[in-house]
């Protein structure tokens, strides 16, 4: 059984944009793509720690605002020539409300 944490509604996130969720062990970036899919990944670029939730969202990817690394929101893997990955967190949308998986969150925090 997964525990889910309600974080808000789809409208809280700009289209092709992102927000973040603060946890005691770091931030989670919540992304909304052009086709209204929602993804959650660690808000911490493995390169120099850039806040990915502040980057430009394009397709199902985000470009880090510090040094332009690009990450797939689906897999968390760096795209292009760079190597590295961020943890992805399961997302559930029900009745317009977004929830993220707590188990993964706690693991991410470990």
């Amino acid at each position: 059984m997964m525990d889910w944490l309600d974080i808000g509604t789809l409208d809280d996130i700009p289209l092709r944009g992102a927000r973040c969720v603060k946890t005691p062990n770091g931030r989670i970036g919540i992304f909304r793509t052009h086709d209204d899919r929602v993804f959650a990944i660690e808000d911490h670029c493995p390169h120099k720690g850039g806040p990915l939730s502040q980057g430009i969202v394009h397709g199902a990817a985000v470009t880090c605002p510090l040094h332009n690394w690009v990450f797939s929101l689906e897999t968390g893997k760096a795209l292009g020539a760079d190597e590295g990955s961020v943890k992805t967190i399961p997302v559930r949308i029900e009745d317009g409300r977004i929830a993220i998986a707590l188990g993964a969150l706690l693991q991410a925090a470990e």
Binding site: P14, V21, Q54, I56
Partner: protein
């Protein structure tokens, strides 16, 4: 002894003839040209792209002035020949120049057919033949009012599409039941009509014009039903007639056109004719391919090189309207001895029809998908018996023999004598051999040497495929650097097309310019957002999701994810009250670092994102606005103290700096713009390494630009010297506006200036007061929407979501 060759007319046909002649017999003739139009030889086929805004006049010039000088040709521009004296062997122009000839070439082209209805002379009734017509149409289109195009043929429809692109409300009137009935069968004509209507063009078939109505100028077109269609512009494009008046008066044999033999000789052995004015073997021609063939024949004859004769061949019809694919050739009338094969795909708007006689193709009509046009034409020309492949013929070349649908394979399978460029009659083998012999690598080179795709350009894709096949891996098609991997287009084309096609949103740009990704990337989105902001002030809604984080939250992100804040200090001047307010903010928010910047202001570093609106609120109380230290926009105007304090100061440099900054703050630019004003040539404000700088001197203000002191170090160039502050401001603002309109995103002024040329910038800004004022006005207009302090907007609650986390958890909440 050199003979005297006189040419009447300077269109594409005589231009091409001269190229061949100069190659075969460069010194045989002393050449004089009389051109009734006041300009050089340009590509008339490309008038429609000029009308729609996809090309500029400069891009369609075939022979620039230099070409005539290089070849020692005397070109009389704006001289219309009014008489030919065959006895004395001279011609005389309307400006009184008389020139003797040994050989005379008549290339007077055609004149538009004006339907003889009342009102045809009213101002606002135009034809569509030359650049002057296009100029007049563009002027009329500025009204964005209603236009009626009479004539649903090739020219009329291109004019209609162009005017629509330019924002006019367009109605096409066509006498016949379907459009382009001479080139298309009714089914394709119907599809064409549907596609034009989908673009918002109204099409009226079976529409007979009774008269053009208007009092002093055009107000509408009255049909024979009595209905009046309102219009402020009427374009007549119902057809052309060979321009034979001059030849007739000279007593040459004339029928519909000037009659020549198959070596382009008229009834006078010293007089030749070519182009649209000619009738050869009972036919007159209006498309460029046969005219270029005439050019070859005549050049051979004049050069005394071989016995080349003009032979009729069918020319395919293509419509130069972006997004409409149409191809037709040959005979497609129904007949008892004829069979046809038809393929229709209603959903995709595709129609293909091949007409057969004795198992050989005699005609083809393609709509919606025309890639196989050249192949069908090839089969037709060679009269290939198609019975073997009859079942799959209509599916095209890729389908034959189980070949793959790879377009490159389809081109590879073409025979060496397959025609690639219909306009210029260039076959595949010629392109391949020229590439190999001359070591060509770029499309421009191939165009220059073979002429393939150098006229209407619709075969460019085919030519590129031939290049790819011939050059293999060494072929690099990107002669223009694309903006990013989402598109093949370069920055300049994208900017031009945004304006020309009236694209006002990022999704519209991506749709119309065929972006390869769903919503771009971090490279193209900010660039497009800038081009739209700069291109449509007031109209375009800034897309913050397409801006970098710094411009989205109006502060500079630091390596640890905190932000720095730089308020504006006009001209670098501050006060005790301002400094006190900054000190209070630093204390209140425990800002870890305060630093003086290179641009004469104060930077507060290490501010948490959530605190930004509160920091701005306090700064705003003290009268501060954003310094845009994060923006691709106007940063600072650095100054020295000038005549206020300095014993060497020649002008009020501080005052001018503040004035410039107050005038220009808030404007978005392709890259950051840093300025400075120094009060004397000692240059304490370091104005000579800025994007724009001013050095005050006794006699006025020396304006500098295109300096750099970053990755590159470069002293400025002088734009010019002006006498007053007002003039200095106008010139600086105009310069920055020119840069805003022309530069590529992220291109600093010094790089842009190097690309377009310093002299060109000086000419437009300093030597052309009208242009300077126009740039100035456009800047002032865009400032109406740009000069809003982003900080106070956000203090008032704009984009609140940017500054707050969506949720917070300490895990216990979730564990419940």
């Amino acid at each position: 002894m050199t003979e005297k060759l006189v040419i009447i007319g300077n269109g594409m046909a005589p231009g091409r003839m001269l190229e061949h002649l100069l190659e075969a017999a460069p010194d045989r003739y002393r050449i004089t040209i009389f051109n009734a139009e006041p300009r050089v030889n340009y590509d008339r086929i490309m008038l429609s792209p000029v009308l729609s805004g996809e090309k500029a006049y400069e891009e369609i010039v075939i022979h620039g002035d230099g070409w005539y000088i290089k070849h020692g040709i005397m070109l009389y521009k704006g001289h219309k020949i009014v008489a030919i004296d065959r006895e004395a062997r001279t011609v005389t122009s309307d400006k009184g120049v008389t020139e003797p000839y040994d050989k005379l070439v008549i290339a007077t082209g055609s004149v538009p057919f004006i339907i003889p209805v009342p009102g045809k002379e009213l101002p606002g009734v135009l034809s569509y033949r030359d650049l002057d017509d296009v100029g007049a149409m563009l002027l009329a289109a500025q009204s964005r009012d209603r236009a009626v195009v009479i004539g649903g043929g090739l020219l009329g429809l291109e004019a209609a599409a162009g005017l629509k692109e330019r924002g006019m409300d367009v109605t096409v009137l066509h006498v016949m039941p379907t459009l382009m009935e001479r080139q298309l069968d009714p089914a394709a004509g119907y599809l064409l009509q549907k596609q034009l209507e989908a673009r918002g063009i109204t099409v009226r078939t079976k529409a007979n014009t009774r008269q053009i109505v208007g009092d002093g100028k055009v107000q509408g077109v009255e049909l024979d039903t009595g209905e009046i269609i309102p219009a402020t512009l009427v374009v007549m494009a119902v057809g052309i007639r060979p321009n034979v008046g001059l030849a007739k008066e000279a007593g040459l044999e004339v029928n519909r056109g000037i009659i020549t033999d198959d070596r382009m000789q008229t009834s006078d052995p010293d007089i030749f004719a070519l182009g649209e004015c000619v009738e050869v073997d009972g036919r007159v021609y209006g498309l460029v391919a046969p005219l270029y063939e005439m050019a070859k024949v005549m050049a051979a004859k004049l050069a005394g090189a071989g016995d080349r004769r003009f032979v009729h061949s069918d020319t395919p019809t293509k419509l130069k309207v972006t997004g409409i694919d149409l191809y037709s050739i040959g005979d497609f009338a129904d007949g008892e001895d004829r069979e046809e094969i038809i393929l229709r795909d209603a959903a995709a708007g595709i129609y293909k029809r091949v007409i057969l006689q004795d198992n050989r193709i005699i005609g083809t009509v393609l709509f919606g998908e025309t890639a196989d046009g050249a192949w069908f034409n090839d089969l037709k020309k060679k009269e290939v018996d198609i019975s073997e492949m009859r079942d799959t013929l209509i599916f095209g070349q890729a389908f034959q023999g189980g070949a793959s649908a790879d377009p490159l394979a389809a081109v590879a399978a073409l025979a060496d004598d397959a025609e690639i460029c219909g306009c210029n009659g260039v076959c595949k083998g010629k392109i391949v051999s020229t590439i190999t012999e001359k070591g060509l690598t770029s499309l421009d080179d191939v165009r220059a040497h073979t002429k393939a795709s150098a006229s209407c350009g619709s075969c460019t894709g085919l030519v590129e495929k031939v290049m790819a096949l011939t050059l293999g891996d060494s072929y690099n098609p990107a002669s223009v650097q694309p903006m990013c991997t989402c598109t093949e287009l370069g920055h300049d084309e994208v900017r031009r097309l945004i304006k020309a096609k009236g694209l006002k949103t990022i999704p519209a740009v991506m749709q119309e310019l065929e972006w390869k990704t769903s919503c771009g990337c971090a490279k193209c989105r900010p660039a497009l957002n800038y081009y739209l902001v700069a291109g449509w002030p007031g109209d375009y809604a800034d897309d913050y999701q397409s801006r970098f984080i710094n411009e989205r939250v109006h502060a500079n992100i630091q390596k640890d994810g905190t932000y720095s804040v730089v308020p504006r200090m006009w001209g670098g001047v501050t006060s005790a009250a301002e400094l006190r307010a900054i000190a209070d903010v630093v204390d209140k928010f425990a800002i870890p670092t305060v630093k003086v910047t290179g641009g004469q202001r104060i930077d507060m570093l290490g501010i948490r994102k959530e605190d930004l609106p509160a920091v701005w609120a306090d700064l705003g109380q003290a009268g501060f606005v954003s310094g845009h230290a994060y923006a691709k926009g106007l940063r600072t105007v650095k100054t020295c103290v000038g005549t206020d304090w300095c014993r060497f100061g020649t002008q009020d440099s501080t005052g001018l700096g503040i004035r410039i900054e107050k005038f220009m703050w808030g404007s978005w630019t392709p890259a950051k713009v840093k300025m400075a004003v120094s009060g004397c040539p000692r240059n304490c404000a370091e104005a000579t390494c800025k994007d724009v700088g001013v050095i005050c001197v006794d006699s006025g203000y020396e304006i500098h630009f295109a300096g750099a002191a970053g990755l590159d170090i470069k002293g400025t160039e002088v734009l010019g010297l002006v006498r007053t502050e007002d003039e200095a401001l106008e010139a600086i603002v105009a310069l920055v506006q020119m840069y805003r309109e022309q530069a590529r995103y992220l291109e600093r002024i010094y790089k842009w200036a190097k690309r377009v040329g310093l002299d060109e910038i000086r000419r437009q800004i300093m030597a052309d007061p009208d242009r300077r004022k126009a740039y100035f006005e456009r800047f002032v207009f865009s400032q109406k929407f740009a000069q809003v302090d982003p900080w106070s907007e956000r203090v008032s609650g704009k984009d609140k979501h940017e500054f707050q986390p969506m949720a917070e958890t300490d895990f216990r909440v979730a564990a419940e």
